[in-house]
Symmetry: C2
Subunit: 229 residues, 2 copies
């Protein structure tokens, strides 16, 4: 945020904050809940890990900005994002006043191919339980996203966003167990999810090792998060 008018042609009669979006993208890999981070190349916090995000373009929607920054910095596209919260403490960015509209989202591990281009920031998944120190107030943002994720698991179809189009009931149960960090009874879980009428058998099975094959299911509400109960 500069006031050098020679190189700063965007002028207003009263001060305007900058607006950014930041994204907390979760996935489940290696039986843990993980968060996508990028390493900052520039000051402030150069070299530190941070959430993918960046400044809002003049004519783009907030969600478009979030998706664009995610794609540019990590190569990930076509994920489900939902607005989380807007952070605006006056001192949250040492460069000046920056308002961050944050989004969180989920992606199935199989859909995630991180960008490998030479100009890409360094990008990596970290277990939610073992995050490195984060730039700005990004730790606070991640914690808020996690709180929302845990809450929404109970009363929405958000869990399906972690899974591919077809999945087994054991995989679905694992999602619930990892996010709630507690084991669930297999029979009761199956009763619960089937009673809610959210999924249906595809007819196909998955043979996956030296044991009985698992039936494959699909959600009846693909691509959309519904409120249940």
């Amino acid at each position: 945020m500069t006031r050098n008018e020679a190189v700063a042609p965007y002028c207003y009669s009263h001060p305007h904050p900058a607006v950014t979006t930041d994204v907390v993208l979760f996935t489940i890999r290696e039986e843990t809940l993980q968060v996508l981070l990028v390493r900052r190349r520039n000051a402030p916090f150069a070299g530190q890990w941070a959430l993918p995000g960046g400044f809002l373009d003049p004519a783009e929607d907030l969600i478009t900005c979030a998706l664009r920054e995610l794609a540019e910095e990590t190569g990930i596209t076509d994920v489900y994002l939902e607005q989380l919260y807007t952070f605006g403490r006056p001192d949250r960015d040492p460069r000046g006043r920056v308002i961050s509209v944050t989004y969180y989202g989920l992606a199935p591990a199989d859909r995630l191919t991180l960008k490998a281009g030479s100009d890409a920031k360094q990008t990596a998944w970290f277990p939610y339980g073992a995050l490195p120190p984060l730039a700005f107030d990004h730790r606070e943002i991640v914690d808020k996203a996690h709180e929302r994720l845990v809450a929404k698991l109970e009363y929405s179809t958000i869990a399906f966003q972690f899974l591919p189009a077809q999945f087994t009931l054991s995989e679905l149960q694992e999602v619930y167990e990892i996010i709630r960090s507690e084991p669930l009874d297999k029979r009761n879980f199956r009763k619960w999810v089937l009673a809610r009428n959210l999924i249906e058998e595809t007819g196909a099975q998955r043979r996956n090792g030296s044991h009985r094959p698992a039936k494959l299911f699909r959600t009846k509400y693909p691509g959309r998060v519904e409120i249940i109960r």
Copy 2:
């Protein structure tokens, strides 16, 4: 949003949107859910009803801005506000790019004395079911706030924000009935709320007409909204 540098000394190297806060304040009066609106004096939408709100000051928190604008435009202070959502469609304000961080809140009818000063905007309560046409995308904001209010009623102590420090069980039930717009069984409601251990008898009673007096209760969590269930 001007680019005339003579009267616009706040300059940046890339375009910055303006940031506002807007507030959806609910109350219950005359057995209906009502929303606080102000009549706009200036273009755009001069003369139309709108939510109280305005531009963020350079060094103030978002919630501080919301409370300040509410106080300046309506005279109402000390209400509970919670961040609702951030609206940022590029065309939502004809003056240019404006991001609105919105809050919603509740206030007991007895605490609401609208500002009467000469420079005050015209301020009034409208039933949620009979709102006038609103400026900008404010109708969308009110609807989102209503949706959140209905949802939070079920799993938080938000209802107490509509009531004074001491209240009767009938008054509490009326809050639930009005927001959910359906009648509730008196015995089941009392069992439900008492089982949750959220309120306690004050010992006092209210004599209120030619009928049996009602016991007065207070919340065990005054001033704070807790998640229940």
